[in-house]
Amino acid sequence: MSNYLQENELLRGLAANDRDVIEAIYRDNYPMVQAFILNNSGNSDEARDIFQETMIVLYEKATLEGFELNCQLKTYIYSVCRRLWLKRLQQMQRYSSLVENVEDSVPVEEDIEQHEKHNAGFLMMEAAMNKIGEPCKSLLEAYYIQKKNMQEIAGEFGYTNADNAKTQKYKCLLRLKKLFFAQYKNGQ
C-alpha cells in the first residue's frame, strides 16, 4: 500500500512539472513500452511518440482536482500505451493481433477520450494564436504562456508603460477570443 502512496506522490510532482519526476518515470517505464511497440511492428521513433503521448495523458490526469491513481503506475502506463498503439495501428491499417506481455491492463478508454478532447482544445488554441498575428501573438504568449509580468513585457515590446501594454493585451485577448470561439463552435 505504501507503494501506492509513493506513486501518488510522484504524480503530484508530475503535475508540478518536476523534471526529476519525469525522468524517473521515463527510466522506470520506457524500456517496457519500447519493447512492447517493437514487438508489435513498430519502430523506436513510434515508441517515443507513443510514450510521449502517454506522459501527456498522465499529466492531464495528474492535474485533475483530487486525482488518485488506483492501480500501479506501471500498469496504467502500459494500458494507455497499449490502447494508443492499437489506435495508431488501426489508423495505419497495419492491424495485426498484439503480442502481449504478461502485464495486466486496466480500462483507460475514458481517459484517452478525455485526452483527445483536451488535445483538440489545445490545437484550436494554437491555431487561434497563429491567426491573430503580431504583436498580439508574442504579447499574449509572453503573458499567458511564459508567465512574464507586465513590467517586463512593456520593456521587451517597447511600450512606454505597463498600463499601455495591458490595454494592448486586452485588445489582443478579445481578438483571440473571437477566433477561438469561431473554431470552437465549428468543431462542436
Binding site: I22, Y30, I56
Partner: protein
C-alpha cells in the same frame, strides 16, 4: 459595459484580486444581466484554456529535454540502430541470391547506361539539368568594383571563376556541403560568404551517387565559426511541408520558398525529394530548410521542361556522407549540428541568422 473593462474584471475576479466590495457589485451585475453573465462564462473558459495551454507547453518542453537526455545516455535508442541490425541479418541470409541478382543488375544497368548515353548524345541534353551556374565574368567584375568602392578597401586577387553554385557549413571548423557535380567541374575552388570575403577551399570527399561533396576551407584567413543556427534532419519530411532555400543564382544571396511536392526525386529516386520552389542555375548545393530551421535537403537539379519541378537530395544523405568520409580517414572529426536555434522565429530573423553560413562556391 465595455468589453475590455469586462474582460479585465473577469481576469481579476478569477485571480482573486478583486476587493470584496467590487466583487459583490460584479456578482450583482452578473446576476441581473444574462448577456454579461454569458460573456463572463466565455471569458472564464478562455482563461482556463490559456492556462491549460501554458501548463501543457511547459510540460512538453520538459518531456523533450528529458527525452533528449535519455537518447544521449542510450536508454532510448535511435531508429537507425535497429534498422542496421535487420539489414545485416537479411544480408547474411540472402547473400548468395543478392550476389546473383546484383551481377544481373550490373549487366543490365551497364547496357542501359550505354544506350542512354548513346541516345542522349544524339538527342541533345536530357530534361533534368544540374543547377550549377555559369558566371558572367563582366557581371562579377562590375559588382566587385562596386563593392570595393563601397568598402574602400583592396580585395584579394581571385581567379576569374567559370562556375558558380551554393554550399553551406555543416561544421564551423570550415566544412561545407555542396553538390558533387559542382566540384567535379572545378579545378580551383573558392567560397565567398555574404560579406564578400573569399576563401580558398578544397574538395575532400565526394559521393557522386548522392551528388554530394564535402569542401574544406583551407584558407588561413578563415576563422572557425561557432554555433551553427540550423540542425540537419535525420528523418524524412512530409508531403506538403513548407520549405525555404537560400542560394547564389546571382552574385547576391537569394531567398526562395515553396513546399515538398513529392517524397522521391527524378524517376522515383528515394534519396531525393521533389520540391516546388523557384530556383536557377547557381542554386545547386543550397540548403532547403523547414519552418523550424532544420535542413531537410540540398538543392541538386531541376526539370528543364516542366516548370517548378526541382530535385533536392534528402538531408539524411549528409549523415551517410560524413560517415563515409570519416571511414575514409577524416582526422578532423566533423561534428554535425544537432540543435536548431531557429524554432519559433519569424522568417526574416531565421534568414538573418542563416545567411552568413551559406556560401557561394565558385571555381574554374
Amino acid at each position: 459595459m465595455d468589453e475590455i473593462l469586462l474582460i479585465e474584471a473577469v481576469e481579476r475576479y478569477l485571480k482573486g484580486e478583486m476587493p470584496a466590495q467590487e466583487k459583490a457589485f460584479f456578482e450583482e451585475i452578473r446576476k441581473n444581466d444574462p448577456a454579461v453573465d454569458q460573456m463572463v462564462v466565455e471569458h472564464t473558459f478562455l482563461f482556463h484554456e490559456l492556462e491549460k495551454q501554458s501548463g501543457i507547453k511547459a510540460y512538453k518542453h520538459s518531456l523533450y529535454e528529458v527525452e533528449s537526455k535519455m537518447v544521449e545516455e542510450g536508454l532510448i535508442s535511435r531508429s537507425q540502430l535497429k534498422g542496421k541490425a535487420k539489414v545485416v541479418f537479411l544480408w547474411k541470409k540472402y547473400k548468395k541470391n543478392i550476389a546473383v541478382a546484383a551481377s544481373i543488375a550490373v549487366l543490365v544497368s551497364l547496357t542501359t547506361t550505354g544506350l542512354i548515353i548513346a541516345y542522349n548524345n544524339k538527342a541533345g541534353n536530357s530534361a533534368v539539368t544540374d543547377l550549377i551556374g555559369k558566371v558572367k565574368n563582366t557581371e562579377m567584375e562590375v559588382s566587385k568594383i562596386k563593392d570595393s568602392l563601397k568598402a574602400n578597401k583592396i580585395i584579394r586577387e581571385t581567379p576569374k571563376p567559370d562556375f558558380r553554385a551554393t554550399g553551406f557549413l555543416i561544421d564551423g571548423k570550415g566544412y561545407i556541403v555542396t553538390n558533387a557535380h559542382v566540384v567535379n567541374r572545378m579545378r580551383t575552388i573558392y567560397v565567398e560568404n555574404n560579406k564578400g570575403e573569399y576563401f580558398s577551399a578544397v574538395s575532400v570527399y565526394t559521393d557522386p551517387n548522392a551528388d554530394l561533396a564535402i569542401l574544406k576551407i583551407t584558407d588561413t584567413a578563415f576563422r572557425p565559426m561557432a554555433n551553427l543556427p540550423y540542425s540537419i534532419k535525420k528523418t524524412n519530411s512530409d508531403l506538403g511541408e513548407q520549405i525555404f532555400t537560400l542560394g547564389y543564382p546571382r552574385n547576391e544571396i537569394v531567398y526562395g520558398q515553396g513546399y515538398v511536392s513529392a517524397k522521391s526525386g527524378d524517376e522515383g529516386d528515394s534519396t531525393a525529394y521533389q520540391l516546388s520552389v523557384s530556383v536557377n542555375p547557381g542554386n545547386s548545393g543550397g540548403p532547403v530548410l523547414n519552418k523550424h530551421g532544420e535542413i531537410i535537403g540540398i538543392i541538386t537539379s531541376k526539370n528543364s521542361i516542366a516548370d517548378g519541378v526541382v530535385f533536392a537530395a534528402k538531408s539524411k544523405n549528409i549523415y551517410s556522407l560524413v560517415d563515409a568520409f570519416k571511414k575514409a580517414g577524416d582526422t578532423m572529426n566533423i561534428k554535425l549540428p544537432t540543435n536548431t536555434g531557429l524554432k519559433g522565429l519569424e522568417r526574416e530573423q531565421q534568414v538573418k541568422k542563416i545567411e552568413e553560413f551559406v556560401f557561394m562556391v565558385v571555381g574554374n
